[in-house]
């Protein structure tokens, strides 16, 4: 049908996933028996029928050019009958049925400048660090307090051994969000990188009344720091009350927050999502502020390496970062990582009273 004549199509929905499943998956759907990580980046999955597939897991920067996707399609055709998938953490899973194709595939991946890894082997307590969930940052968003892709690249370069090998005692997930909106949902990660502002919004009252509604702008502020400004018909911010959350900017473009000195990164630790052993948990503040130092963010990269290494050294098998801290105590976490504890670490929001210590149980 020519473009002009074709009727306007809506609400047809995503492709039916069943059309995109490898035949061996279709056959063994719901009838997998077990899996084994036969080497870093390669998972063997065995079905009740005896059928076997091999997954080769390839790390990506998430941001891909169409030509790279075509190259990935090429690989899938060459090695996987044209079938593949992505994971919930931006890795590509090539689905192979022929074991002998694993090595050549990996070779081609590496020649293409990509990496294989990111798996974990619970049976043998050997865990890799997989890709970092992340967000837009300076690539495409209007509200970031830091970049996303550049920090992820810098951190993954630093932790590349942890991706390619499985040398951690337990499962460890890193996530990044470039502002408090937390699109990377970093609030429950073993290690979270979160962009934060530290300056109040700059109120542009010359244009505010034209583009924003004053009442909804005022209402957007959780701390009631914003008041109408009768003089300009715009608003005023009580800077003492501002906690730099940026919610006002989300509601009103005339209140930008970005500032090269004010903005930066905070690090959070000890969250998790799975139910394995302990229940899901929120990440807790470790480092309140690190400066934005593109292109390589050495302070952030360094602090993360320090945390990962201290953890790797101290944790028991299968013990996630938060579980490890729970065992050794927060006193020891700060002591061993050398991170300073400050008044910023003490909660003052709605649930503060739950986080303040009620006991005289301390380690010295």
């Amino acid at each position: 049908m020519s473009e002009e004549k074709r009727p306007y199509k809506t609400d047809f929905g995503p492709p039916d996933y069943r059309l995109l499943l490898h035949p061996v998956i279709k056959k063994n759907y719901g009838k997998w028996k077990y899996h084994e990580v036969i080497r870093p980046g390669v998972i063997k999955r065995v079905a009740e029928s005896g059928d076997v597939v091999y997954i080769v897991k390839m790390g990506t920067p998430r941001l891909l050019a169409t030509d790279t996707i075509r190259w990935i399609a090429d690989l899938a055709e060459k090695y996987c009958d044209g079938y593949l998938r992505w994971t919930s953490r931006y890795n590509v899973e090539f689905i192979l049925t022929d074991e002998s194709k694993i090595d050549p595939l990996i070779k081609e991946i590496e020649e293409g400048g990509f990496v294989v890894g990111g798996t974990w082997d619970a049976t043998h307590a050997k865990y890799g660090i997989t890709n970092i969930v992340h967000t837009q940052g300076w690539i495409h968003c209007h509200t970031p307090a830091t970049d996303a892709s550049g920090i992820v690249k810098s951190v993954m370069d630093e932790l590349i051994d942890y991706f390619k090998e499985m040398k951690l005692p337990a499962f460890c997930r890193i996530s990044l969000a470039c502002c408090l909106n937390m699109c990377g949902a970093v609030h429950c990660s073993d290690i979270a990188i979160l962009g934060i502002h530290r300056l109040p919004p700059v109120v542009k009252n010359e244009k505010l009344p034209k583009i924003c509604e004053v009442p909804s702008t005022v209402a957007s502020c959780p701390t009631l720091a914003i008041r109408p400004d009768p003089k300009t018909k715009g608003v005023q911010v009580n800077e003492e009350r501002c906690m730099y959350c940026g919610n006002c900017y989300t509601m009103c473009p005339a209140m930008p927050m970005a500032d090269p000195e004010g903005d930066g990164i905070s690090l959070w630790v000890g969250g998790k999502v799975s139910n394995a052993r302990s229940g899901p948990a929120f990440s807790k503040l470790a480092v309140p502020f690190l400066p934005n130092t593109p292109p390589r963010w050495p302070e952030t990269v360094g602090a993360i390496r320090k945390i990962v290494e201290t953890y790797a050294e101290g944790a028991n098998k299968h013990e996630r970062l938060g579980e490890w801290i729970e065992r050794i105590g927060w006193e020891k976490f700060f002591e061993r990582t050398g991170i300073e504890f400050t008044d910023k670490h003490i909660d003052d929001f709605t649930l503060a009273q739950v986080t303040l210590r009620n006991t005289s149980q301390f380690r010295w």
């Binding site: 809506t10 996933y17 899996h35 941001l63 900017y249 299968h318």
Partner: protein
């Protein structure tokens, strides 16, 4: 000298480089070229140069496109308008090479040639499209052999996501892919036409490992689980013992069980589980997948209210239904979702997430409304709470008082 000295630094190092990707696209696309230059500028200025986007959409849809404009349009004219289109990925992120190539061809025709595989909600993100190209691009995708539709944004249902589930994973306790695909198809209208107080997300994981982080990232989190006994293959246990040694089984499986409900006998090399105390955490199964598997009475736990920071701080989802059977076509869940949306729509404030509404009015009022207004009876269950309330501020309704009177009178 390079035009992008700062970004060039990020081409170095072993991890695949997003800068290389942008350069690859920039080599043949002027939008991508300006994107690269603008990003270098951001790196220099240590701040974003993207402006707050207005509402941009394709005909018939209210969501799915994020409007984005550069704040230096004179200097970077090809990214002056640079919107993203969120494309609803195939459930479970399964592809054929053909499907991928088709998307690439359309995207090269209209946009920057840059993508995210995938966005953190799960969509395919087509990064950077001028306003006028949005609609033709969408329709070209719609007319592909394997057509692709637009995903969610704004105050609508967001693109639901599922873990790979039964397609590849031996742990799946229900068919995550079928369920999420069914919900996506059923609620196309809700997905495409924002009409609620705020966004709403559905995510499904086939077992308590929660590989799509549903509990942390969805207003409606569906987690596969089971009710009966863990299936044990004692022969396979023995194989593990032979491989790993009895001590590791004791230390790494038995002793890490959160309720200490397992026993291991190093002589018989058998594992015993007191299932009445097992909390279905998955730890032992994860560790010994050949030997242990979830029980046979399978279904899911439904938790509600998960979300990120604004405004009441981040929530993890809360248990609503400790156990539901997951049977196609999931009529009960569809009905429940419709009731939830209706109630939230009636009672929620502007930009108030579903969980925040419950937090504001109390779970009991939500349960009461479900029962009295929508005929969905969800009895209070101890599994809804980590522990019962610690404060005495209980709301007693006149009916409660009547019932108590009846009880104590007799």
């Amino acid at each position: 000298m390079s035009e992008t000295p700062l970004l060039d630094e990020l081409e170095k190092g072993p991890w695949p480089s997003f800068v290389r990707e942008i350069k690859k696209a920039a080599a043949k696309n002027e939008m991508a070229r300006d994107h690269l230059r603008l990003l270098e500028r951001c790196y220099k200025d240590k701040r974003t140069h993207w402006k707050h986007g207005g509402i941009v959409a394709v005909r018939g849809y209210g969501g799915g496109v994020i409007g984005r404009y550069c704040d230096l349009p004179e200097e970077y004219p090809h990214v002056a308008e640079y919107h993203t289109i969120r494309i609803n990925m195939p459930t479970g992120w399964f592809y054929t090479s053909k499907a991928l190539r088709d998307i690439c061809d359309v995207w090269d025709k209209y946009g920057s040639g840059l993508t995210n595989f995938h966005g953190s909600t799960g969509d395919i993100i087509l990064l950077g499209c001028p306003t006028k190209a949005l609609e033709p691009c969408f329709q070209d995708l719609a007319y592909l052999e394997i057509p692709f539709d637009i995903g969610g944004s704004g105050s609508d249902l967001r693109t639901p996501t599922a873990c790979m589930g039964p397609a590849l994973c031996e742990f799946a306790c229900f068919d995550t892919l079928d369920f999420i695909y069914e919900m996506t198809m059923e609620f196309q209208n809700e997905l495409h036409r924002p009409m609620w107080p705020y966004k709403f997300k559905i995510k499904a994981s086939g077992c308590p490992n929660d590989c799509v982080a549903a509990k942390a990232r969805a207003d409606f989190s569906v987690i596969g689980t089971w009710k009966d006994e863990i299936q044990i293959d004692q022969e396979a246990v023995k194989e593990y013992v032979n491989e790993l040694g009895a001590e590791r089984i004791q230390k790494e499986v038995v002793e890490l069980c959160p309720t200490k409900c397992m026993k291991f006998d190093p002589n018989t090399k058998e594992l015993e589980i007191d299932n009445s105390n097992c909390v279905r955490c998955m730890h032992c199964i994860n560790k010994l997948p050949k030997a242990l598997r979830p029980g046979k009475e399978r279904g899911a736990t439904i938790l509600i209210g998960g979300k990120a920071t604004f405004v009441d701080s981040a929530f993890l989802s809360w248990v609503l239904l400790p156990f539901v059977e997951m049977k196609h076509p999931y009529d009960y869940i569809k009905e429940l979702l419709r009731a939830i949306w209706d109630w939230w729509d009636e009672n929620g404030k502007f930009r108030e997430r579903f969980g925040e509404l419950i937090r504001r009015v109390g779970m009991w009022r939500f349960l009461k409304a479900m029962k009295e207004e929508y005929g969905i009876d969800i009895p209070a269950d101890v599994r809804m709470v980590e522990y019962p309330r610690t404060n005495p501020f209980v709301f007693w309704t006149p009916e409660d008082r009547e019932e108590a009177k009846r009880r104590w009178r007799k």
